[in-house]
């Protein structure tokens, strides 16, 4: 599995009458890990939504997706009254319905053993966040677009998540994630710094 998964050329993002970004180009190939950085308000989230195909009014440019996409935004896309198992089984991202055993393995991987059947609103905020992240252990999509995946996760969770991203990339997938935190992947990661485009 190789080749280009995402090709974006000359992407511009505007919000209202304000131009946030212009001339962003990005090519993501299998096996690559990309971090999008830049100060708040520069349009990291808008760019990622544009790449995922969620924004059409504010985002212009040529965006080509050559692969199914997993998009993880700020919102959890989980129902508070349903258990982690139900939430993952009937996840709105569709594609395929995961088997019960897979879901249990994924929940175990994020440290939620014993909470599989508790409604989400009985779990802590951190645990709910882990349910949202458990999708990454079930994903069949090669290209992941993750918006601030490391926020609201404790130190153990951060390590788990880092490992998961590295594993996915090594298995031939690709990850684009936004983060305003310093680089945690060393020279494994490609950095796209938004301020430079916006000024230049």
């Amino acid at each position: 599995m190789s080749g280009v998964l995402l090709n974006a050329t000359d992407v511009a993002v505007e919000r209202g009458e304000r131009q946030l970004l212009t001339g962003v180009s990005l090519t993501v190939s299998a096996g690559e890990l990309w971090q999008v950085t830049g100060a708040n308000g520069l349009g990291k989230t808008s760019l990622l939504r544009g790449l995922a195909g969620l924004s059409r009014f504010g985002v212009t440019g040529d965006i080509r997706l050559m692969s199914p996409v997993l998009y993880l935004g700020h919102l959890p896309a989980n129902k508070p009254l349903l258990s982690p198992i139900d939430n993952l089984r009937w996840h709105p991202s569709g594609r395929r319905q995961a088997a019960l055993s897979e879901i249990e393995t994924a929940l175990a991987a994020v440290g939620l053993v014993g909470f599989e059947d508790s409604p989400l609103n009985t779990l802590s905020a951190g645990q709910q966040r882990r349910v949202a992240l458990a999708r990454l252990w079930l994903a069949s999509e090669p290209l992941w677009l993750l918006d601030e995946p490391f926020t609201a996760v404790d130190i153990d969770g951060v390590q788990l998540l880092e490992q998961r991203l590295v594993d996915h990339v090594e298995e031939g997938g690709a990850v684009v994630f936004t983060s305003h935190q310093p680089n945690r992947f060393g020279d494994r990661v490609n950095i796209l710094k938004l301020g430079e485009f916006a000024s230049g």
């Binding site: 995922a52 195909g53 969620l54 924004s55 059409r56 009014f57 504010g58 199914p68 996409v69 998009y71 935004g73 700020h74 919102l75 959890p76 896309a77 989980n78 129902k79 508070p80 009254l81 349903l82 139900d86 089984r89 009937w90 996840h91 709105p92 991202s93 569709g94 594609r95 395929r96 319905q97 409604p119």
Partner: protein, 235 residues
């Protein structure tokens, strides 16, 4: 070959549709108020009519079809505006929008779940409210059946309004403005069916019209809803 396409394309879609339906139904049933409140609303508003019009049983019986149908319509209006709100607020709509399955299908699942929880329960309970207004027992099957079909029509029409206003703060009243004119044919078909049943006429043609509206709506309205939801996510 055709069989293979069937299992390859249709079956995963049905699995997805069933999954989304289960997700909404289970979520809805865990909050019993969502099922009970529309019924309470219904019985309370029906109570207002004798208080406003006077207790004369003759007059109430004559007005019963109209009253019951208008209240069913209002009840649908009050529940419709939250139809997609939960999925919008928790990000599920974003996921549905980029899912490989058509958004029209997932929005239909949401509308059907809403209909099963509110419309169907309302039509089952309707004879009770009919008795309160002196509706003859012979007209009850028509009342129930017309409400069963009609509430599906109302839920479908309401889903367009809900999809157009889901991103707008305090969109509830706006939804009413958009949807009430579109409700008109459903109201006329439904009331006419029940009125015919009272005078031992033939309600069949009105029920057929409701059925035709529902069938066309099931096919066409999800397309409009999915277009509207994509706009709402983006705005």
């Amino acid at each position: 070959m055709a069989e293979r396409t069937n299992t390859e394309i249709v079956q995963p879609l049905m699995v997805f549709l069933r999954g989304q339906l289960m997700r909404h139904l289970k979520s809805g049933l865990r909050r019993p108020g969502e099922v009970a409140n529309p019924l309470l609303f219904f019985v309370m508003v029906v109570t207002l009519f004798p208080l406003g019009l006077g207790p004369d049983p003759e007059r109430l019986r004559e007005m019963a079809p109209g009253i019951l149908w208008v209240v069913a319509l209002l009840s649908n209006l009050t529940t419709s505006h939250r139809l997609f709100a939960g999925d919008f607020e928790d990000g599920s709509l974003e996921q549905l929008a980029i899912a490989p399955q058509p958004l029209a299908l997932s929005s239909l699942a949401q509308t059907l779940a809403h209909w099963l929880l509110s419309g169907v329960t309302l039509s089952l309970a309707a004879p009770l409210f009919g008795l309160m207004l002196g509706l003859p027992v012979a007209a009850m099957p028509t009342l129930m059946f017309s409400l069963l079909l009609g509430s599906l029509c109302l839920a479908l029409v309401g889903s367009v309004g809900a999809a157009l206003t889901v991103g707008i703060r305090r969109g509830g009243l706006l939804l009413s403005l958009l949807v009430i004119p579109l409700y008109v044919p459903v109201l006329i078909f439904g009331v006419s069916a029940v009125s015919e049943a009272i005078i031992d006429g033939s309600p069949a043609r009105w029920l057929a019209l409701l059925g035709a509206f529902a069938a066309a709506g099931l096919v066409l309205i999800p397309l409009a809803v999915s277009a509207a939801l994509r706009i709402s996510i983006d705005a």
